[in-house]
């Protein structure tokens, strides 16, 4: 498969009053054209940082090391002007809560016109025509184009967000918890839309979520982040059937679904990334931890073709 995006030793350090927070540490991830990759992990594990770094948006004084290669360009080296040509046009983002991402005083059509004209030199009428087309494809009646954001339901707003993200035909779509604020039925509707996009346009999608049920239903591959480290990577069917990292095992066990017989959880909480634990970052919470886990950092190793995990004892779970 042709690679669309590749991160190479990507590390991100945020400067806070207390010092540098090591939000991402040496992430190597390749995303193929037309693929859907789910990025999972608890709050504070670096999921959203990864999305922000790909899009080149972070707070001032953030240190970024390593590369993000997109279409042969290293995005981390781009200046703001060149990045602006890629952001939205080549790589689009949809957020958790569409309401906070729209201007309440602007009609839907003006949002679209603004987005389109920022990248393409077209008259407003042409921009509006494209907007109507994008809306209809998301099953939002085009007659609503003159309405304001608050006049729509949550699911409708998220569909408008998706339409807006797609109107410039980006090659990569990043969805950061796109259904978290929606109800189950609406969530399932939105997921079906994302799935249709995959099928009909061959869209490449990075789906960031804490809900592993969604990953199981929508994604081809899954990347598990823990405390800024990539700890497991593989196809969805492999990882769900045979999770090799104890953290992934814990995450899978703690899903509450209709066939759950009991309650499981992972002891403790993710570490403070100002001073991450030595050795394997998961060792303080790991039920299988050995002395070696406190001392040496387990490398990400390939256990079966395409299934990688960063655990000293990954073989045990094969």
């Amino acid at each position: 498969m042709e690679t669309l995006l590749k991160t190479d030793g990507l590390s991100v350090h945020y400067l806070t009053r207390r010092g540098y927070v090591h939000a991402l540490d040496g992430i190597n991830l390749e995303i193929g054209k037309g693929e859907t990759v789910g990025i999972v992990g608890e709050t504070g594990c670096g999921k959203s940082t990864l999305a922000k770094t790909i899009l080149g948006v972070h707070p001032p004084k953030t240190r970024v090391e390593g590369k993000v290669i997109f279409h042969k360009t290293d995005l981390t080296k781009l200046d703001e002007d060149s990045f602006r040509r890629i952001r939205g046009k080549e790589i689009a983002l949809i957020f958790q809560d569409p309401m906070t991402r729209m201007n309440p005083l602007m009609r839907i059509q003006d949002h679209f016109v603004e987005v389109i004209q920022a990248h393409d030199n077209v008259p407003a009428a042409e921009a509006r025509r494209r907007a109507e087309e994008a809306l209809t494809s998301m099953r939002v009646p085009e007659s609503r184009i003159r309405h304001y954001p608050h006049e729509f339901s949550g699911g409708m707003r998220q569909r408008i967000m998706i339409a807006m993200a797609l109107v410039l035909h980006p090659s990569l779509l990043i969805a950061d918890e796109p259904t978290t604020s929606l109800d189950v039925i609406t969530e399932a509707q939105i997921l079906q839309i994302l799935e249709d996009l995959k099928e009909s346009y061959g869209m490449t999608l990075i789906l960031i979520t804490h809900n592993l049920g969604i990953v199981a239903n929508v994604c081809d591959r899954i990347a598990v982040l823990y405390a800024g480290k990539l700890v497991e990577l593989g196809t969805v069917s492999e990882v769900f059937a045979r999770p090799l990292h104890p953290y992934t095992q814990g995450l899978l066990a703690s899903i509450i679904h209709l066939d759950s017989k009991g309650l499981h959880s992972i002891e403790g909480s993710p570490p403070d990334l100002l001073v991450p634990p030595a050795g394997c970052r998961f060792h303080p919470r790991c039920p299988f931890a050995q002395p070696v886990c406190q001392e040496s950092i387990p490398p990400l190793r390939e256990f079966t073709p395409g299934h990688l995990a960063a655990c000293h004892f990954g073989e045990k779970f094969l």
């Binding site: 189950v184 039925i185 079906q192 995450l251 679904h257 499981h264």
Partner: protein, 409 residues
Amino acid sequence: MKIENLKVHFPIKRPLIQNILSHEKLVVHAVDGVSLTVRPREILGIVGESGSGKTTLGRTVLRLLEPTSGRIELHGRDITHLGESELRPLRRQMQIIFQDPHASLNPAMTIGRAIGHPLEIHDLVENKEEAHDRVLQVMREVGLTPEEQLYSKYPEDLSGGQRQRAAIARAMILRPELIVADEPVAMLDMSIRAKVLELMMQLKQRHGLTYIFITHDLATAKLVCNRLAIMYLGRIVELGDAGEVYADPKHPYTRALLQAIPEPDPSKRKKKDLPQGEVPDAVHPPAGCRFHPRCPVALRTCGWEGQDFLDYIDRRSLDPVLEARERLSVGREEDWKAEGLQASRKMVKGNEAGLVESVTHVMSEAPMPMSQALSKVSVVGETVQVEFQPPADLQPKKIDDRVVECLLY
């Protein structure tokens, strides 16, 4: 607790001018005729989507909101209209845990003080030492340890799970009998939800608590609740034993909810047959069964009305071919006005017959139950009217050990 035909309606605030121009009184029908019994020491789940009225119901039974009509009984005593001074002693027996512990804990109050605050309010302790001891005791009980250390921390120093434990401790310190838990784990990471739920189960066992567990998550509800009440737009559509509701869901809405939950098993991927659209607004809830516009097995008598016609032509406009043809003949959704069973459109004189014909044609292509429910398309003065037959009477029905509100039964 016994709840009878409870209604909670919120008036909509409008600018004065609109009130003068329109005499229609607009209210949100948040809870619209709910009857329930909460049994001692059970966990009753109230399950529904946002806008179903589940939170309003939870707050109203604790009398945190004023009911519009109906009756709430606690141990046989009518508490529907008790004043604040009479309610005060009862509040010790009934506590609430909110969804967002970050919002429900005062950021300027230490955890210890926040947990002990109810003791001060209800004047239950002799002195500071006694309060301090009781706070530490309840902190140990909910697993907020080391308790001496955490006592003087602020909410922002705690993790999400610890904050929710603090909120539970604050509810528990008064030794209540009934706790309304409003989405107590929805804001927490999956990996720690189980711990908080386990804690709630332990507390229930130890103190014989009764919970009203409000959630949108049917999977969690199935795991922790004894009985489930499924709510949709202010009504309970199904009520029964949790295991049975899951094994054999009766109401089409319950079935839709169950089906929509993503299963964490990639080998069981399948295209879902989802209900269309979203929950309509509660200012003008649909006639008849409120789920009828989205129901896959709706009948002719389920409550088809003017608004359904508007929604139908709106959906048709998504098809570019139909849109081009019908924009001029039938008109757009905004050309029509819905009022009760009717939808109407003002016409230029002479064009009525054509419109009647177009509408009749479009209705013949409508989904079965809706087209069957059509009463007539006619010209009345300068308007063309689409009229539907009145819906059948819908009441909650007892089937086996279940209460279901659906015309299929």
